[in-house]
């Protein structure tokens, strides 16, 4: 295999390198997708589009939970069980760079020590790029590139406190929420609406003195989820307990996900969901781009803060303010 370090590769070199499973090339291609340079993006798009028919063959799993829930330990044990079964897995951690929480400030190699040395595992942080309440993450592109590189399971990890989760729900086949027993302070940080998005909830740290508390939490959440509206796919979210420390309950989660996939493939929802996600991603990208053009417009930037203050203070009606800003935008577009 050629060494491409230190120079820009050709489109063909990226494509072939990724198809051969070259991790250095894969990492560089993800960096390219994340780049803010137009020429990098254009190249990245051509690469991804050329690889498109080699994507979509993995199982995409979203894992979320607030800092302290034990995500890294969980993914470490979960991932090791998958690689032990011979699976090639990629772990994309969404780095909430601009968020309050410092959940993934620690290097991912420190966080998942065993996995980071595992030849079957590939760990890559991606920037969350949350702004304007829209999606500007390149996680989807990173995921597709990993699929083309032959990874069979893609794990997308988020911290459960921001906008990322809605985006991630639109990326994955299965969405796992990690929770701690004791619905107290631990819950404060989690974003409203996430519980209703979960396909399964795993109560973590169900070991030692925590076992009975975890079992109570499991029953409570299980009862609660039965009160929720049933998904159109017919799946009733499951609640389980697990211990990363004692490696308990992890195999059961893998079985549960397998069961989900079998059911969703047989009722047609698996593919239907993927199709809907593709279109949703296109529309979200359009939405983000339109908003971005608006809010980055020089004229809008110069009047937005004052307008927001007037609207907040009740001195200008929201609808009128919106119309005035839109008029200013259309008049002052480059």
């Amino acid at each position: 295999m050629k060494s491409f370090q230190g120079k820009r590769h050709t489109e063909a070199e990226y494509i072939n390198g990724i198809l051969e499973g070259d991790r250095t090339i894969l990492s560089k291609a993800i960096t390219l997708a994340e780049s803010n340079l137009a020429e990098d993006n254009a190249l990245s798009e051509r690469i991804i589009n050329a690889l498109l028919h080699h994507t979509g063959n993995s199982l995409r799993i979203g894992i979320t939970g607030v800092p302290g829930v034990g995500k890294s330990s969980f993914i470490e044990v979960f991932g090791k069980q998958l690689t032990a079964a011979g699976k090639k897995i990629a772990i994309l951690t969404i780095d909430p760079s601009s968020q309050k929480t410092k959940g993934s400030i620690l290097g991912d190699k420190t966080r998942m020590e065993e996995l980071s040395k595992d030849p079957l595992a590939y760990i890559r942080p991606t920037a969350s790029g949350e702004k304007l309440g829209g999606i500007h993450s390149r996680t989807r592109e990173a995921m597709l590139l990993c699929e083309a590189a032959g990874f069979e399971i893609i794990i997308i990890e988020t911290v459960g406190v921001g906008q990322s989760e809605t985006s991630v729900k639109n990326l994955v086949d299965f969405f796992l929420l990690l929770m701690l027993a004791g619905a107290g302070d631990e819950l404060q940080g989690i974003k409203k609406g996430i519980i209703e998005m979960a396909d399964a909830i795993a109560i973590t740290k169900a070991d030692g003195d925590n076992i009975s508390k975890s079992e109570i939490a499991r029953k409570e959440f299980s009862n609660a989820l039965h009160l929720f509206p049933v998904s159109e796919n017919g799946w009733v979210p499951k609640v389980v307990t697990c211990s990363s420390l004692e490696k308990k309950g992890i195999a059961e989660i893998i079985t549960l996900i397998d069961d989900y996939v079998v059911k969703m493939k047989s009722n047609g929802f698996f593919n239907q969901n993927r199709k809907q996600q593709n279109v949703a991603w296109m529309k979200d990208t359009i939405l983000y781009s339109l908003q971005s053009a608006f809010y980055n417009n020089t004229k809008i930037k110069s009047v937005l803060e004052t307008t927001i203050q007037e609207v907040e203070a009740g001195n200008k009606e929201a609808l009128l303010a919106a119309k005035e800003l839109l008029a200013a935008f259309y008049k002052n577009k480059s």
Copy 2:
């Protein structure tokens, strides 16, 4: 009072009429706000902006629930208790014109017979205008006009199955979800995420044979809501039972809402929420307008379906498709 019927009024006539509490003028002003004609909208905006300092003094309550939950009967009894206490109330029903459910196809006067004859109550349906997943409702404007006309409590009713609820949550001070006992088929229609949005859940039809079932449901939901993330306003959603038939539990709901308002006013969240809602409405209006310009563009209309099919089929990557559509949009704008 002058009779304005049959002709277009001047701005001053609208403004004065509304401030005098003239319902004919109020109704015409709401129609003006809902109009698709630019000149009507411009007049409506001037009217609302002139009245702005007479708005914001009501308590705004959102009430939602699927068809069959007994919304009309509930609002009838709930509203009558409010008018009996001397309160002037306006009920804005969001008509899901383009939705599957036919929940409010029945005339509102038939649905709320007593209230519709009550001099202290004003009932008005407004179109939901749900398209592109955005907000195009004029419910906010209708609400502001009602406030300027002196209504002290504004009830906004939706059917709990569409996008409206997120919008309504952004309009109201208090969000009440009506539910039936028995988490079976009745729940199927409700939109995911609504339960986590509710400030209170009322289990309806808690009478006769249904009493014990309702009490069980109340306990279940109450337990479930305690597992949810706590709102930043510190309010833990309450679950109660009620019977419109026997007029039971309704006064308790009024007390509960009063309690909420006192707490939210004392912790500052009431005003903070209103301010955030104003800005959110402005931003949502901008978003809707930007999207609308895009999706109504002739060029986009001519290629969108084909592009969606390619993306769905996995023949074109979502990001690339979005970029191509955006390029076509910017190239072919009027």
